[in-house]
Amino acid sequence: MGEEEEKTEQVAPVLSVAPGPHISAARSMRRVMIDVLVALVPAAATGVYVFGWRAGMQMGVCVVSCMFFEALFQKLRKRPQTIGDLSAAVTGLILGLSIPWTAPWYVGFIGSAAAILIAKMLFGGLGSNIFNPAMAGRAFVQACFASEMTTYLLPGKIGPPRAVEIISQATPLAAGKFEQVAYNLQDLAIGTVNGSVGETGAIACALGGLYLIFRRSASWRIPLGMLAAAAVVAGINQALTDTVMTVGHHLLAGGLVFGAFFIATDPATSPLSSRGRWIFGVGTGVLVMLIRLFANVPEGVMYAVLVMNMTVPLIDRWTVPKPVGGRVQK
């Protein structure tokens, strides 16, 4: 004991003082973002399989540009760099996965600029943004490059290397809406159809999504609410009309599964409480279907998410949870 005392006197440890709790189980934002990147691997791999190298190019351009624009913004504003939290990489990957494989490289580049500079950083950065950056960026390029964003064939009417050929290679939702042709459900599940880079493979998206939920890196209420609500609306539509698009078609085609797990669950732009998340998920699911069925566009995930993003402050206000012990303060 004498020895130990001497030792501790020689090297007096430096003691720190800080408010509690003094231990932490926090997983850093970077850790959560790595989870999201890992969860996106199956969808990205499906994209590369179906669409070839152009898919990889879209993802690469967007990831690099998003990180570049965030670094640039922080540098110009003389603020500490934040790209280390990898949220810009996630935004880039999601953006890259949600644009057509045929789009020229500058579409992704400009979309990234809009996503990061306008939708994210001008609003105050991660957590302060109102709109999902990837969807805001996509909406921006959709407005600027309407034809590039809706053409799913390369010049010379060349379709994707590994997609089944139906009706001049239209996307499944467009085929269903405008040509009354339904794709084979199996192709929709695997993803061997035309569409945006990462959203065609429903199974791949769901696999990654389940991983996220298993890791508790995303809320399960939002995807469940969104998919269930979309299924119900699609079911009503199937029962009341003579559409070729069954519930299965609506669930598996387009960006619904991808959006439910990876876009609507963006924490910064979704509600805080469990009740709020249910409302948000169900609202998004219903909106997606209303747009698909009644608007003049085949797909509605992007608009649905952006519209629901605007309602988040309201939802948060309405759904202040009841404290244990009731609302009335004694």
């Binding site: 030792k7 501790t8 509690g20 709790p21 231990i23 189980a25 409480s273 012990g325 009335v328």
Partner: protein
């Protein structure tokens, strides 16, 4: 009253949300309580409780004996303090307690002749017989009076004067007394050792406290990570009319509101107290102190303290006099290791970091946890990313991020809308926050800064 109806719901032995930190109790759980050799001097704070501080009742350079009153107050919500060693007083000073309070304090230089030391001191406090046969001969007021005079306060850390809890209130009858043996803070093992080594005074104190408060039912609640303590308390309680239940190991199970939900399925109203639902909660060490006060006429002068954590050379549980310095306790445990980075008074979730190791321990000091620099290292604070994790773990169902934001902006209307005053400062929210926002600190500051309406 709706109490009878709600009791029929089978209790879940748990509560919603909360967190599961590594309990890290094995460091000191196996060490039987050792009696601290008499320190050369102690410094006894005149306010070791929530409520009115005491006024000094002794002059400097007075010879005093163990148990002499050093300070007292006429206020109802207060508790006297007593000398924990025999010796001579010096001029009163001011000391800063770990929670930041500045309070008056009386220094005592211990004399060479202490009436009790070592095993004899243990026996006087926790050993020997604790006859429960005579308990019905005490009047409830008599018990509450003895508890007040003994200076007993909540020893789990809350330090609310116990006689106030036990005083009968005709408008709010009590039907159940819960004896809190959860010790849900990681690392701490002082209550655990007490339950293993001295279950009898806990049971006797429980019976006395129940009689004082008028409770018919007595339930000892212990987290199920301490099966041997549950076993021990069960065999001690046999035939005494005291139930012993195991509750889930989940932080903050030892919080009164969480424990009452787990054991009784009753919800204390927001901003209310356990007595609003007919319950009083008393910590195990407090119960033992009640027994000693009533049956042996001795005030609260000593307590068991866990000195533990990866930053202490040999973690122990120590019976120490109130007023002993943290430095003396740590030294008795072999000192700090080279890696030691933070000394915490209390547990790592709700305890306070110590800047000065010469601070004295008080009646509410359940432990000293020394963590390494690495364990307490935190990433830099960033903006809230709205991940909702804080909401998912708050045991009171609050929205910590919004309360903290309101407190930061001093938006009191918003703070109230999000029930700032309901927060029990358990720290679950900050424990999980990936943005490392000091949520509890902000909420605490908000509560303190908020205008009273």
């Amino acid at each position: 009253m709706t109490i009878a109806a709600t009791t029929k719901v089978p209790p879940k032995r748990s509560f919603a949300r909360g967190v599961h930190p590594d309990d890290a109790k094995s460091l000191s759980a196996g060490s039987p309580v050792e009696v601290l050799p008499m320190p050369k001097s102690v410094l006894i704070p005149l306010s070791q409780h929530i409520g009115a501080p005491c006024e000094s009742k002794v002059k400097p350079r007075t010879e005093i004996a163990v148990g002499d009153v050093l300070g007292d107050s006429d206020a109802f919500v207060s508790a006297p303090v007593h000398a924990s060693v025999a010796g001579a007083t010096a001029a009163a000073t001011v000391v800063t307690l770990p929670n930041g309070q500045h309070v008056g304090a009386v220094p005592i230089t211990a004399s060479d002749q202490q009436p009790l030391a070592g095993r004899a001191l243990w026996d006087d406090i926790y050993g020997g017989d604790w006859p429960t046969g005579t308990i019905d001969s005490f009047e409830p007021e008599q018990i509450a009076e003895a508890v007040r005079n003994a200076g007993i306060v909540g020893m789990g850390g809350a330090t609310f004067p116990t006689h106030v809890k036990l005083a009968r209130n005709p408008d709010k009858p009590i039907d159940t007394l819960i004896i809190n043996g959860c010790e849900c803070e990681p690392y701490l093992t002082s209550d655990y050792r007490l339950m293993l080594e001295a279950p009898e005074p806990i049971i006797a104190g429980a019976l006395l406290a129940a009689r004082a408060a008028g409770a018919e039912r007595i339930i000892v609640a212990i987290e199920d990570n301490k099966p041997d303590a549950i076993e021990k308390m069960r065999s001690s309680a046999a035939g005494a009319g005291v139930e012993v239940v195991g509750v889930h190991t989940r932080y903050p199970m030892g919080g009164e509101k969480q424990l009452i939900v787990a054991v009784m399925s009753r919800e204390v109203p927001t901003g209310g107290l356990p007595l609003d639902v007919g319950v009083v909660v008393v910590n195990v060490a407090t119960a033992a102190a009640v027994a000693r006060a009533v049956l042996r006429g001795k005030p609260l002068t000593h307590r068991i303290i866990s000195i533990t954590g990866e930053g202490v050379v040999s973690p122990k549980n120590i019976l120490a006099p109130v007023g002993a310095g943290y430095a003396a306790l740590i030294e008795y445990c072999g000192g700090l290791t080279d890696e030691a980075g933070r000394v915490i008074s209390g547990g790592p979730m709700m305890g306070f970091a110590l800047g000065d190791l010469d601070t004295p321990v008080t009646k509410g000091t359940s432990g000293v946890v020394v963590l390494t620099e690495e364990q307490t290292r935190k990433a830099e604070e960033t903006a809230c990313v709205r991940c909702g994790r804080c909401v998912d773990v708050c045991p009171l169902g609050l929205v910590p991020t919004r309360i903290a934001l309101a407190a930061r902006n001093m938006d009191w209307e918003m703070a109230r809308r999000y029930y700032i005053t309901a927060c029990c400062e358990c720290g679950c929210c900050a424990y999980v926050c990936p943005a490392e926002i000091p949520l509890v600190q902000l909420i605490r500051a908000g509560k303190a800064g908020m205008p009273r309406d």
